[in-house]
Amino acid sequence: MLEPLFFLALAVLTPGVPSLQPPPLALHVDAIIQPDGAIGPGGWIVLRNGRIESIGPAEPPVGCARLEFAGGVAAPGFVDVDTSLGAAGQLSEPARPFTPEVATGDALEPDHSSFLAAARSGVTTVGLMPGGRNIIDGRVAIVRTADDDGRGAQLCGHGPLRYTLSAQAFDGSRVPTSRMGALPQLREMLAKSPAPSSGTSLVAADTADEIRIVIDTFGGAGRSFALLHPTRADDAIELVRGSVSGRPTAAVIGPFDLDTGERDVRVAKLLADGGVAVAFSGGGDGGSLRLTAAVATRSGFDAKAARTGLSLAGARLLGIESEAGTIEAGKRADLVVLDGDPLDLAAKVKLVLVGGAPVEAAKESP
């Protein structure tokens, strides 16, 4: 680990390079995760100005700093939509039950140490998710876990709105106190406001009953929507698959660990089989994300879909799939190099790049 970073630092600091831009970096790995989640052939990945310039077997251009990883597997940086990393205070504004104007980016503490830990574990983009105590809770902040210098986090946009129709969004001290009172208002708002051009509505729905009402309300309004943590989607799977009004495009699932019940884990496969893209969530920790995906595959979840569930599915939910989520020329250089398949929990993270900048490795104990 130390060695490649040393060369990388050397390359960046080499005097005499006549450009203000740092020199391009070329990584050689033995395998590259494809956009569809398959483990494809390795080769050189050339990175320039924070972006992926080319991918292929050809020798990189002269002047590149080279890093070669024997046995290395390059994966797109992990994207975790549902985190509260670096949140300064709580992420629901209790003053009103409908707060579409609020953005969690305004509660972002970019220097929080949790971002460095997330980046080191392979997570390059996180969503700072509103807290779920309002019916409309505001926008999820899109945060890169390291800035261009590889240090603090960087707010890079305001993503989709988060909605909640479960009990936690209601209390007796403000109107509406109930789903019965909330739904007519929400339906009216959805009917009046234009659907967002990109991204999707993120809607918390835990029980089968909540999933039904969300499909009814958002699908009925012609909205593209994703379910946050639909724990009992197995009971409502026929509605998820066969809804006439409209069905969820995606679902955020996890975290799972080795103790998670088989029934909960199988929900991921049921949703995927029903045509719902599954994005895994690990609370911002790459290890937890990979464990979640690995546990899902143990219950029959497709391995390729599990790998896209670590990055592309989340990027789509945040509306940043043109920038992140896959290793493709032109995209931002958010990469994780491991010494194996990210679904193999024995595989170790060797290098993380956020926008082309290497994340400082943790000091190894002597």
Binding site: S173, M180, G181, T207, D209
Partner: protein
């Protein structure tokens, strides 16, 4: 398949001559090759007609023919229920089960919420519906919650089957007003207890007295009239949508129920009806026996029940209380009524309530009628359910003995022709 559900061997013998003279055999429509034919020792239509033995022919979820000695269509699947009794699925016109809220489902932001819909808080996945289906209750009208003076619209649903098909449209929407202790007695406490996070609440401004409840009712109707006639906003900040919904109650486009328990609440209801020219149905009507004459004279339909030990005495059901004999008295006074188990199910369910009514003097045929034909009519659902008649939904209960006897239970329940409870009384999640 249904056939495998019923332990009885399949036989295709045509029914023997009916004990009750039946009308001429109805002309059967198109091919009945895929029909299901149920034969039973007694087929109770719900309106008092009984075929002994009888036949019910079901196709595409609906009843095609009912009678005795009907020709068995070639190719039809025959289910011989043997000595069993067949009735329509039971209908509870004032059910309070199946909503998802832990502490009540109604919106607490106002005492007047007729614009809101109980369907929005219905949990189709609730296990309570499975229990109701197993009890033989196939249709429920989930009535507005009693914590609001004028509550939300009720919702009618089947207790099982595909969710998309479960909601029924009553002939009219229906809202409920509550004049008794539920709204006033709870007052400031009409919210979740503080240990469950129920802090200061909008419910604090609820009426805390009976006269307060009546005042809220009157004021809301006066406000809605002023809004309708002069576009005037409510001085209580009543939602215009609520006032429009009350306008529909005043015009009769939406039907009204009055939840009353004590005799004096009957009197208040009648006064309010006269003031505003309202037609309504009494719900629960615990002390109806004390107001039989006025109910009969005004032809007010009654949804009666449930009778519980605590409603009468703490001793036993056998105590001679007016409440227990009320169904009999309602029938004797020619009052149109049905029975409800409210939030009761299983041993406290509708069949049990009906059995009690029979034990305390209600005629058996009248009792069946009170939980099928009349319940469906009072809830505005008689175009779809409540009777074994051609064109209606094939909601059927097969009982292993005389319906509503303590020793009898439903052994097979069909909703829209699909078996939802099997012969062991188990609810079936997957309906073939």
């Amino acid at each position: 398949m249904i056939a495998t559900l019923l332990a009885a061997a399949l036989t295709a013998t045509p029914g023997t001559a009916p004990e009750t003279a039946s009308a001429a055999t109805p002309a059967l429509p198109r091919s009945l090759a895929d029909a299901v034919v149920l034969q039973a020792a007694e087929v109770h239509v719900g309106d008092g007609t009984v075929y002994k033995p009888g036949v019910v022919i079901v196709q595409d979820g609906r009843i095609v023919a009912v009678g005795a000695g009907l020709p068995i269509p070639a190719g039809g699947q025959v289910i011989d229920c043997g000595a069993a009794f067949l009735t329509p699925g039971l209908v509870d016109a004032a059910c309070q089960l199946g909503t998802n809220a832990l502490f009540g489902s109604a919106e607490q932001g106002s005492e007047v919420i007729p614009q809101l819909d109980t369907g929005d808080v219905l949990d189709y996945f609730s296990l309570e519906f499975e229990q109701l289906a197993a009890d033989g209750v196939t249709t429920v009208f989930v009535t507005g919650e009693a914590s609001a003076v004028i509550s939300a619209k009720g919702v009618a649903v089947k207790t099982a089957g595909p969710i998309a098909e479960r909601r029924l449209a009553p002939t009219k929407p229906c809202v409920k007003a509550t004049l008794g202790a539920e709204t006033s007695g709870r007052g400031a406490f009409n919210r979740s207890p503080s240990r469950f996070g129920g802090g200061p609440s909008y419910a604090i401004r609820r009426p805390t007295t009976r006269m307060g409840s009546a005042w809220v009712f009157r004021k809301a109707l006066h406000d809605s009239i002023a809004f309708r006639d002069a576009g005037r906003a409510s001085s209580d900040g009543l939602d215009p949508a609520a006032m429009r919904a009350l306008g529909d109650v005043l015009s009769g486009a939406t039907s009204l129920r009055m939840q009353v328990r004590e005799a004096l609440d009957f009197d208040t209801s009648v006064r309010l009806a006269d003031e505003f020219g309202l037609q309504f149905v009494f719900e629960y009507a615990t002390e109806a026996a004390q107001r039989l004459d006025v109910i009969a004279a005004r032809k007010i339909p009654v949804i009666f029940g449930p009778v519980r030990q605590s409603d009468s005495t703490f001793e036993s059901f056998e105590s001679a209380t007016p409440a227990l004999e009320t169904p009999k008295l309602l029938a004797e006074h020619g009052i149109v009524f049905c029975l409800t188990a409210s939030d009761g199910s299983g041993d406290g369910g509708l069949a049990r309530q009906t059995g009690l009514a029979i034990r305390f003097g209600l005629d058996r045929a009248k009792a069946l009628r009170a939980v099928t034909v009349d319940a469906a009519a009072i809830a505005g659902l008689d175009q779809r359910v409540g009777r074994l008649a051609p064109g209606l939904d094939a909601d059927l209960v097969v009982w292993n003995g005389k319906p509503f006897d303590d020793a009898s239970k439903p052994v097979l329940v069909l909703i829209s022709g699909r078996p939802v409870v099997d012969v062991q009384g188990r609810f079936r999640k997957e309906n073939p």
